[in-house]
């Protein structure tokens, strides 16, 4: 089983994810270039890393969505397999229509880089079942455009379907309903602005992020059996 990490021009959290998966979680990550049109054989999950793909031209994530690999990512998600987008990865997945809503500039207009206490709003997803519902976890954010927006009808659906996975306790960026991470309706695609891969070892200030990856790994391992 492989964990495919998509690399776009301008991705910069690709190695962080690779390192956590290989060295901390002891699974097999593989980089996939954005010019590829297929995912590696035995891909169990796709991870779209943070960064500034295509220089954030037009809108963050707007151009990456048209990369050759994205058709394969969309087909993978449509087949029900797990896909997670972190930070710029979240922006790309919303632009690609794999997740509802959009990310605006932070309400303060500042780039914010600091740890954030989050509430695990849904601890039953493929990506969060190792957490306790309502638990507080600490993940850093590092973004200028993480201000989640969706209209009222979409927000009502997100709540009704339990698609809100994480919320900010001290909303740093103006996000609608304090939303830090959402899933698609089916629950197999997660996007989040905070960085679990930067919070997966105690020496880096906290290891709450490990349980997100442990949840994902347990989910794909169970699905393979």
């Amino acid at each position: 089983m492989k964990y495919a990490i998509i690399r776009f021009p301008g991705s910069n959290c690709d190695w962080d994810l690779f390192y956590v998966l290989r060295d901390v979680m002891a699974v097999t990550p593989e980089f996939v270039d954005y010019r590829e049109t297929t995912l590696p054989d035995e891909t169990a999950a796709v991870l779209v890393p943070g960064g500034f793909s295509y220089g954030d031209y037009l809108r963050s994530g707007a151009i990456a969505r048209f990369s050759p690999i994205m058709a394969a990512v969309k087909a993978f998600a449509d087949a029900g397999h797990p896909v997670i987008g972190i930070c710029n990865g979240f922006q790309i997945l919303t632009e690609a229509g794999l997740l509802p809503g959009a990310l605006r500039k932070n309400s303060s207009l500042d780039f914010i880089c600091k740890p954030q206490p989050l509430t695990v709003t849904n601890a039953t997803t493929l990506f969060t079942h190792e957490f306790d519902a309502g638990e507080t976890v600490m993940f850093p954010i590092a973004h200028g455009e993480g201000n989640y927006y969706c209209d009222d009808a979409t927000l009502a659906q997100l709540k009704q379907n339990h698609q809100i996975a994480f919320t900010y306790q001290n909303n740093p960026n103006g996000s609608t309903a304090d939303i830090a991470g959402v899933t698609n309706e089916r629950g197999n695609v997660l996007g989040m602005m905070p960085h679990p891969e930067r919070a997966s070892e105690a020496i880096l200030g906290g290891d709450d992020g490990q349980r997100l990856f442990a949840s994902l790994i347990a989910s794909v391992t169970a699905a393979a059996q």
Partner: protein, 85 residues
Amino acid sequence: MYRVKVYVTYKESILDPQGEAVKTALHRLDYQTVEKVTVGKYFELNIADRGQNIDEEVDQMCDQLLANVNMESYRYEIESTTTEG
């Protein structure tokens, strides 16, 4: 040839933090008459005339790429610049 101008802004219902910041700065310059500022994006496109439905084509371009219709609205002006000969 068509020359097309596209204007993209946040939807009316969405707070435009850049517009608010610019408005505040204009007030600091003592332009107290400024009541609202909207910051958006402006595109100019030159498009070959192949007999297509240009209005529909531009609308699709805006819808698919130039604007994120979840949060932005767009409008455009199409000018035909067909030269003689």
